[in-house]
Subunit: 205 residues, 3 copies
């Protein structure tokens, strides 16, 4: 009933990365809702999680290079590792930008999008755990990630339109456009990770 190679440790590493991503996405949402002078602490916590996830991903890749598995499995593991890594890097980058830009109060759209990122990370964690223990749980979680990406896409376009309505301040447009763009990109990467998980699940189904 299991979907990946014999080396048990791969599962633990992926679960550990996915858990940190869920936590970081939660802190990102919190950060956008906090006021400016409480943000620094949350940004630092996200950075710490990103650093831990990075070490874990590095261990996956090193193990991969040393393990005897087929090229196809190797490709999947590598794609999954780099998909999860991208999501985490984008969350970290978002938090740091929000701080550096002195963005002030976040528009509702940014908070809503960060919530969607959090929900998508939770589903990815479910799918990653499913690879190990319950292959029937993988596909439904991937389907939800895709639905969340679509929901995020429509939120993104709705709030980007609001940002350009009327005669906006160019600096506000520069700052929030970058944050919206990166929130949407994070959901794209989450969907990429879900696609890899789906593909692993179908191949070994």
């Amino acid at each position: 009933m299991r979907l990946l190679p014999r080396d048990e440790r791969f599962f633990d590493l992926f679960i550990a990365v996915a858990e940190r991503t869920v936590e970081a996405a939660g802190l990102l949402t919190e950060m956008l809702q906090a006021d400016e002078n409480h943000r620094g602490r949350l940004v630092d916590s996200i950075k710490r999680l990103e650093h831990e996830a990075d070490q874990l991903t590095h261990e996956v890749v090193t193990r991969l290079d040393r393990s005897f598995i087929t090229p196809l499995d190797r490709e999947d593991i590598h794609a999954l590792a780099s998909g999860l890594d991208d999501v985490m890097d984008l969350i970290d980058g978002l938090a740091r930008r929000a701080k550096i830009f002195h963005v002030g109060e976040a528009p509702t759209g940014a908070i809503l999008l960060a919530e969607v990122v959090k929900q998508a990370s939770e589903q990815i964690l479910i799918a990653v755990k499913g690879l190990h223990t319950n292959k029937n749980g993988v596909l439904p979680a991937c389907v939800i990630v895709k639905r969340l990406e679509e929901e995020g896409d429509s939120l993104y376009h709705e709030w980007l339109a609001k940002l350009f309505d009327g005669s906006p301040d160019p600096m506000m447009v520069i700052k929030w456009k970058e944050i919206y763009d990166n929130l949407e990109k994070t959901l794209d990467c989450a969907e990429d990770a879900a696609n890899v998980l789906e593909s692993i699940s179908i191949k070994h189904g």
Copy 2:
């Protein structure tokens, strides 16, 4: 004389995606030439094409996971599917942005670049059809795509320079820079797709 795996259906799917891309690129050019209040309808038509292409690409990937082909062929098919998908997504994104940004009348450079995107899509369609029926048609079409990418690159830099000349309005720079950047990126992705097509053609030549 054929260049890809035995499953005939792959060809049909790729041709169907490439046809929709040509149509979408044509609508994009039309949209940039239309005035603001006629753009919405064209944006919706492009979105519809993008959605259809997305379903088709999804079918390619699902079939791929279930088919028995060598890792190398698999890699090529996957790269081709995602290359074509990128071109379509960028065209769709461009159309939506032009609408959301209320960009007003398009500068000549944007229309010229959209024309180049359209021509590149037409050559990709020729190359994709060539994979199935006429392998001698693939390479010349790929060569034209590369020439078009170079032409687009030089148009891009020329018109980007014009955008920054003098004392431009920052909001206009934000809007048109993003559109020019994405037009250029679309041509890069078209070139990537052409490189995959070329590589398939050489390997099976």
Copy 3:
């Protein structure tokens, strides 16, 4: 003691690309320190190097498609070629943008980041040469590239923060943010290339 396939020519091609990248990174630093009317000549020299590197990379890819090596080696060579290519393209794009934007005098941060790009290119050249002649030289050079990426990351955030401090001119923010973003992205690509080199070195170690 050698790490890549039997075709000696691959090494020469990679070394030739890496050498051009070092030279281009040096010219980029020089360009940012030069005053506006001396920049055009340096931009042209970088373009020439980018063009040469492009031809060399094209030769690698063509040879690859014609050579009989395992899928895994093929994947590595391809990843290395495209990693080096990305670094060069970004350096060329940076130089052209600095000219097109009429950026005026470069802030210290941009010059410091360009220096880090140059140092990273030098380490990549050392690692690439090491593949052929001295596999023990590969890993230490890769470790330095990663440290340089971290150093660049922290310079990037420090100087991006300075750019957004106070009430900056939106046009200056648009221009320098793009340049900083691309300098940081160049270091990310250099790190990607180092990761491929590391991975080749571990697998064949």
